[in-house]
Structure formats: structure tokens, C-alpha cells
């Protein structure tokens, strides 16, 4: 009994200030081999390094402590009143990764699955588990098949082999925290804009076609970027294995147009009618139509305005004369 009182008094002293408390945590958890072991300097450089251990492990109030429950990041990042960023957790709540929306599937990732626990760094930091170079491997832990395909795609090679800072990781399309269901219309439509963030010319010309206009109006039944170019398996157009290469394009068109012929595939899915060098027939058709419209309207609007003026004038004169 006396011992317990001593421990109690000691722990009151130890945990009286957060800084002091943190130091005392390291007494045990700073020892290698301890579970969990926390590398003090690495933790202190992390995004949460300035916080007391008990800020997250709030069920620990002294030593010895019982079983410590899993940290709830949402305490700060979802409902907390302090400066912690919240939108990520709010998006996660809506995501297919959220166990609640996915009816309790316990294999789904929580914050810690991707971010880790003690060594959370800004994603620009190469130590971060969500640093862009590491994202595909991170996701591959649960999605190995997608990773295998992605890593050989033009985007995967640019990121993983050429370190291209503009190459998309999984996040650019799947929206890291939001990860909407891939079958959702809203996501499929949003994806077109995501592609257009980098491929802006292609988005502009796509929007001039029937496909691009129908999707713009919110309907997904027509060809979107990935229907023709592929998604995880996207390759350069000049790659013989591309979905749009000479040997594959017919099959690609036939996904939606089953009776398509080789001639059919000569459709310009990204035509630009103002580009005379590349699309001369289209250019001259557009020019002819423009001249026809301007000419017809110019003649008849002039005709109509003059007619209206003369008619009104004559009628006024007649009334004045009566």
C-alpha cells in the first residue's frame, strides 16, 4: 500500500508538466527493444514533435499504465478546436477507405496505415511515408495488382524511374483522402478535369467533341479519357502496346462502338479546327461555315434593320397625315 502511494505521488510529479511527462515516457519507450520504441529525435522533428505524448495517448495518465488504446487522429483532425488541419479527415470520412462507410470492413486503412504513427512528416519530406515517390508502393500494400500495372505505365515510369515531379501518383486520380468509389459518376467526371490539369490542350480539344460535351453536361456513358487511353496501364501513343496504337485502336473503339471498322478509328478525338497544318479539311470546313454564317447574318440583319426603320417611318408619316 505504501509503495503504491509512492508510485502515485511520483507519477503526479512526473506528469505534472507535458514536457516533463514526455521525458519520462522516453525513460521506457526511448529504450531500444521497448515496444513501442520511439526514436526521440526523429519524433521531435516530425509534424507532431511539439506535442506531448498524452495529447494523443490521452488514456495514459501515469505510470504504470494499462493497455493503451489506438490513437484517434480525429480527436484533433476532425472535431478538435485547435489548429490541426481538418479537411483531410473530413474527406476520409466520405472515402471508400473509411470503415464506417464500407460497413465495418476491418481490413480497410485508417490514418496510421498510410501516415504511420510517430514519424509523420510533411509529404514533401522524403522521410514521410506519403512522400510522392513512395505513394505507389504505399498503396501497393493493399492494391498489388494495380501497382504492377501502374509501374509499367508511362506515369509510373516517369515517377518511379525518371523522378519526374509532374508525374501523377495514385493520389492525383484517386484523391488521397477522398478516394471516392471508382464506380461513382461524380468521380469519373472529376477525373477528366484531373487529367486536364496536366493535359490542358487535350482537355480543351476533347471538350469540342461529342464525348467531351456529354461528359461536361454530367453524363458518363460516353468515352472519357481513360476509356480510350487506359488508366493504370496508360502508355505513350507511339508505344505499340498502347490502347491507341495501330494494332489496338480498333479494339479500343469497339468497346463502345462494337461495329466500328478500321476507317472509323480515323476519327480525331482531339481535333482543333483552327489548326490548318494538322487538320486542313476541318480548317477549311470551319472557315467556310464561318463565312457563310457571318455573310448571311450580315446581309439579313442589315436588310431587317433598314426595313424596320422604313416601315416605322412610313407608318408614322401616315398617322401624322391623317
Amino acid at each position: 500500500m505504501k509503495d503504491l502511494t509512492l508510485v502515485f505521488l511520483l507519477s503526479c510529479f512526473l506528469f505534472a508538466s507535458p514536457a516533463a511527462a514526455k521525458d519520462s515516457c522516453y525513460d521506457c519507450h526511448g529504450q531500444k527493444g521497448m515496444k513501442p520504441y520511439v526514436d526521440k529525435s526523429a519524433f521531435e522533428q516530425s509534424a507532431h514533435g511539439h506535442l506531448a505524448c498524452t495529447k494523443c495517448h490521452f488514456d495514459v495518465s501515469g505510470y504504470p499504465h494499462g493497455k493503451v488504446s489506438k490513437v484517434n487522429c480525429g480527436a484533433c483532425h476532425f472535431i478538435g478546436t485547435e489548429g490541426a488541419p481538418k479537411e483531410q479527415a473530413q474527406q476520409y470520412k466520405l472515402s471508400v477507405h473509411n470503415r464506417v462507410t464500407a460497413v465495418g470492413n476491418a481490413t480497410l486503412p485508417t490514418c496510421q496505415t498510410c501516415h504511420g504513427s510517430h514519424y509523420i512528416y510533411p509529404s514533401a519530406d522524403t522521410r514521410s511515408s506519403t512522400n510522392r515517390q513512395k505513394i505507389p508502393t504505399l498503396c501497393s500494400q493493399c492494391h498489388p495488382r494495380e501497382f504492377e500495372v501502374y509501374k509499367n505505365s508511362i506515369h509510373g515510369k516517369q515517377l518511379l524511374e525518371d523522378n519526374n515531379p509532374a508525374a501523377p501518383t495514385c493520389f492525383q486520380c484517386h484523391m488521397e483522402h477522398l478516394t471516392p468509389p471508382t464506380a461513382s459518376n461524380a468521380w469519373q467526371l472529376a477525373l477528366i478535369k484531373q487529367c486536364g490539369d496536366c493535359h490542358s490542350e487535350e482537355l480543351k480539344t476533347y471538350r469540342k467533341t461529342y464525348h467531351g460535351k456529354v461528359t461536361k453536361l454530367g453524363y458518363v456513358t460516353v468515352a472519357k479519357c481513360s476509356d480510350c487511353h487506359g488508366a493504370h496501364d496508360i502508355l505513350m501513343l507511339n508505344d505499340p502496346d498502347s490502347t491507341l496504337s495501330r494494332k489496338n485502336i480498333l479494339k479500343t473503339c469497339q468497346k463502345c462502338h462494337p461495329a466500328a471498322t478500321p476507317g472509323f478509328t480515323k476519327f480525331y478525338a482531339h481535333a482543333e479546327e483552327k489548326d490548318r497544318a494538322k487538320y486542313p479539311v476541318l480548317y477549311y470546313t470551319f472557315l467556310f461555315m464561318t463565312v457563310l454564317l457571318l455573310g448571311t447574318f450580315a446581309f439579313f440583319f442589315t436588310h431587317t434593320f433598314l426595313w424596320a426603320y422604313r416601315s416605322l417611318k412610313e407608318r408614322m408619316n401616315k398617322k401624322g397625315g391623317e
Partner: protein
């Protein structure tokens, strides 16, 4: 008061079919053309969504091909059977534009500027002939390009796929020309000009007053008198309900047309 028969029921019904299908085509087509405009998605939803709008567009296209064929059939019937090939294709009862029309345009412009009297017209004025042939041109261009786009897999057997790019430009710009023309110039020339404002019911009632014939188409009046044919065209007044229903229908079409015109102008110049 005696009235003059100008259009028979067949003409008038074809005009109704034309007006209804044209409005349907413009309303269901423009949201695609101006997909960027904020009203586009709204109008598409109003029509019942992308699939329903496409269906409306195709039904109206079939009506268009129908009235077009019906008119060609009528012209053949009229020339071959009614007139037994005694028809002057360049004469005043023909729709074919000829020298008199060029002279009329010239004299109309002189009249606009107060430099001369108004030219005297016969059965068909030059602007009526223009409206008439514009439909041939429009239905031809929009109809053929529309069929390409409706059945791309079929036409892809005979033509390279970029023909659909060409067809899209033609279909879209020709539609803008047709809608822009009908909703402004046709509306003004036939209904809204001060002489007829707010509406000329002749296309719905089929009848002109004798005064209108003498005043608006003096050459036709004199020709009918000279040829002793005026009697043939004299008729009692149209039943009121037909004229009234026609005017009501006409106003509805004109108002919908103006509404669509505002959307088109927004789509063309703002978004």
C-alpha cells in the same frame, strides 16, 4: 368579307410539323453545342436527361425528314398531276428565284433609303423564296451530317472517321445559322414587322383578306384578275377557332424561339 385562299391544309400542317420539330431539335441540340454554358445542364435535365434529349432530337429529325419528303412528294404531285406539267418554272407561281427577285432586292434597298417606291410583289417575295430554299440547304446539310453522327459505325464503313469531325462542325454551325435565322429574321420578316405585328396568321388560317392581296401582292392580284382566276381563290372566312388556335400556337412557338435565342446568344458570346 371575302377572303383569298393562299395555303391549303397540307401546307399549313407541314408548317406546324416544321415549327414543332424545329423547336424540338434546337432545344435538344443546343445544350450539347453550348455544353459550357451554365444553362446547358439545366436544359438537358429539363428535357429528361441526355438520353431523353437524344431521343427527342432523333424523333424530331425523323419528323423533319418526313415533312421534307412530304413536300417533295407534293411538289411532284402538284406539277405532274394537278398542273399536268403546264408549269412555268421561272414564272410568278414558282419558288425558283429569277431576275425579278434581284430587281426587287435592289428596289427594296432603294425604298429602305427613301430613294423610291416599294417594289410590287407577286405570289412569292424574294425573302419568302430565301426562307424556302434555306430549308432545303439546311435540311440537306444538317440532315446528312446528322445521319453521319447518328450512325457512325455504319458510315464508318465507307468514310474515314474524320468525316465525323467535319460533320460535327457542319451540323453545329449550320444549326446555329438556322436557329439564328428563324428566331430573328424569319420571325421579323413574316410576323413582327410593323405591317404584320404581332403575327401574320396566314400560315395558320391559310387566308388573306382581299385588301392584303391587293396591297401586299398587287402583281398577283392583277394577274389573277387578268387571267379570270380570282374566283377560284375566293372563299369565305376561316373558322375562328382554327385561326385562333393557329395564332396561339404561333405565339407559343415565337416565345419559345426567343427564349432559345437568348440561350444561344449567351452560349455564343459569353461562355
Amino acid at each position: 368579307m371575302a377572303e383569298i385562299k393562299r395555303f391549303n391544309a397540307y401546307h399549313r400542317w407541314l408548317h406546324v410539323a416544321m415549327a414543332v420539330s424545329f423547336i424540338g431539335l434546337v432545344a435538344s441540340g443546343m445544350p450539347l453545342k453550348y455544353a459550357n454554358a451554365p444553362w446547358a445542364a439545366w436544359l438537358m435535365r429539363f428535357l429528361g436527361g441526355y438520353y431523353a434529349a437524344g431521343l427527342i432530337h432523333r424523333i424530331c429529325a425523323v419528323i423533319t425528314f418526313g415533312y421534307f419528303a412530304a413536300h417533295i412528294g407534293y411538289v411532284i404531285y402538284d406539277i405532274a398531276i394537278v398542273r399536268k406539267f403546264r408549269f412555268n418554272i421561272l414564272g410568278p407561281e414558282s419558288m425558283v428565284p429569277w431576275l425579278k427577285d434581284l430587281e426587287d432586292i435592289y428596289h427594296s434597298f432603294r425604298w429602305f433609303f427613301g430613294m423610291g417606291p416599294r417594289p410590287q410583289f407577286d405570289r412569292f417575295t424574294y425573302w419568302e423564296k430565301f426562307d424556302y430554299w434555306a430549308v432545303f440547304w439546311g435540311v440537306g446539310m444538317i440532315g446528312v451530317s446528322g445521319l453521319f453522327l447518328w450512325f457512325p459505325e455504319f458510315f464508318g464503313r465507307f468514310m474515314p472517321g474524320w468525316a465525323f469531325n467535319i460533320a460535327t462542325v457542319i451540323h453545329s454551325d449550320e444549326a446555329l445559322l438556322a436557329a439564328g435565322f428563324i428566331f430573328t429574321i424569319h420571325y421579323f420578316n413574316t410576323h413582327l414587322r410593323p405591317e404584320k405585328f404581332p403575327m401574320d396568321p396566314v400560315i395558320f388560317s391559310g387566308r388573306l383578306t382581299l385588301h392584303e392581296l391587293q396591297h401586299d401582292r398587287p402583281l398577283e392580284y392583277r394577274r389573277l384578275v387578268d387571267e379570270n382566276r380570282l374566283e377560284q381563290y375566293l372563299t369565305g372566312p376561316q373558322q375562328t377557332w382554327i385561326t385562333d388556335a393557329g395564332i396561339l400556337f404561333g405565339f407559343a412557338i415565337v416565345l419559345i424561339g426567343f427564349f432559345l435565342l437568348i440561350l444561344i446568344v449567351m452560349g455564343q458570346f459569353i461562355y
